[in-house]
Amino acid sequence: MKPSAADGNSEVSVIERAQKGEVAAFEELYRQHVGRIYGLCLRMLRQPDRAEDCTQQTFINAWQSLRSFQVRSAFGTWLHRIAVNVVLAQRPHTVQGMAPSDTVDVEQGWVLDTPVEVSELEAAIASLPAGARDVLVLSGIYGYSHAEVASMLGIAEGTCKAQLHRARLLLRKRLASEENEK
């Protein structure tokens, strides 16, 4: 998913225009990144409505602090950090890994228009406890390192590794049980 050098240069110029207050340039950035931001929010929150709200808030926050963004950094990663903060702020304050959503059933309405296997995998991820799910999504799907995930979520790197281990065990169990049911 890495952009080419030409794409990177193009994005830099768009970012610079947006930093000067050009809304049209910021819309271009929005169009380019909204899918990944919404995907992250949806996987972390499991509720489309809340994911949409968080996506909007992410871009609003990004606009407000756009001047502080250093163009040397990856814009997508910067946006992801903002999105994670917005999502975490939405959740009630709980002990990490023991969020109330651990006991809440996955919303039934979330069905992806994807092949069955992918859909099952998404459903299995969605059924994970919040803390483990956050780490698995950021690390497994979006490819962030333990250090990056720990930094984004505000947890220790050791906790991040433990949560990932837990998530993978739970995910395997759920996928295995689904396989047995077939």
Partner: protein, 180 residues
């Protein structure tokens, strides 16, 4: 993004994670609502983000305060030199301003004014001024030991005001005597 958790060697059944699509399209276009929040006020130029503007304003406030300090000091010093502890002395046809601030500058001396008075007034005025000067000498002697004492400073200023009052009263009496 430096490392993926799963990979080809992962036989745990979750290696498909990395193959999941990172982007998911939202069910509706979210931009119009975002744009409504970002839209600049009608009278502003451009649509510059607001938060940095606030920060810029906050950054300038201490500088403005700092820049105003020399101005305030200059104005305070000027006021002190111009009006602080000054006395107004009537010398016949015109008012003579005789500042007695830090510089202790005197435009018109008391003996010269006493000498210009009618002969009948001089003894009484001289006696009053002598008493005042004695008090001033005592206060100045005390100030030699404690020059920073605000009480002594105020007492000295008070004697100077009294001296001016006596001279003005004498001048006034002299004028009245002259009219008769």
């Amino acid at each position: 993004m430096t490392s993926a958790t799963t990979g080809p060697s992962d036989s745990t059944g979750v290696r498909e994670l990395a193959a999941l699509p990172q982007a998911i399209a939202p069910g509706r276009d979210l931009w119009p609502q975002i744009a409504a929040v970002l839209a600049p006020p009608p009278n502003s130029v451009g649509a510059a983000p607001q938060a940095p503007r606030k920060r810029a304003a906050v950054r300038w406030v201490p500088r403005l305060l700092l820049a105003s300090v020399p101005v305030l000091v200059a104005v305070t010093v000027w006021i002190w030199f111009e009006f602080g502890g000054s006395t107004v002395t009537h010398t016949g046809e015109r008012l003579v301003w005789a500042p007695s601030g830090p510089a202790d500058r005197r435009v018109v001396s008391a003996p010269a004014q006493v000498a210009s008075l009618a002969a009948g007034l001089r003894p009484e005025v001289s006696a009053s001024l002598a008493a005042i000067h004695t008090a001033q000498s005592g206060i100045k002697a005390a100030m030699a030991a404690d020059g920073e004492s605000p009480l002594l400073r105020e007492m000295l200023a008070s004697t100077r005001r009294e001296e001016a009052r006596v001279l003005m009263a004498a001048q006034h009496a002299d004028e009245l005597a002259g009219q008769r």
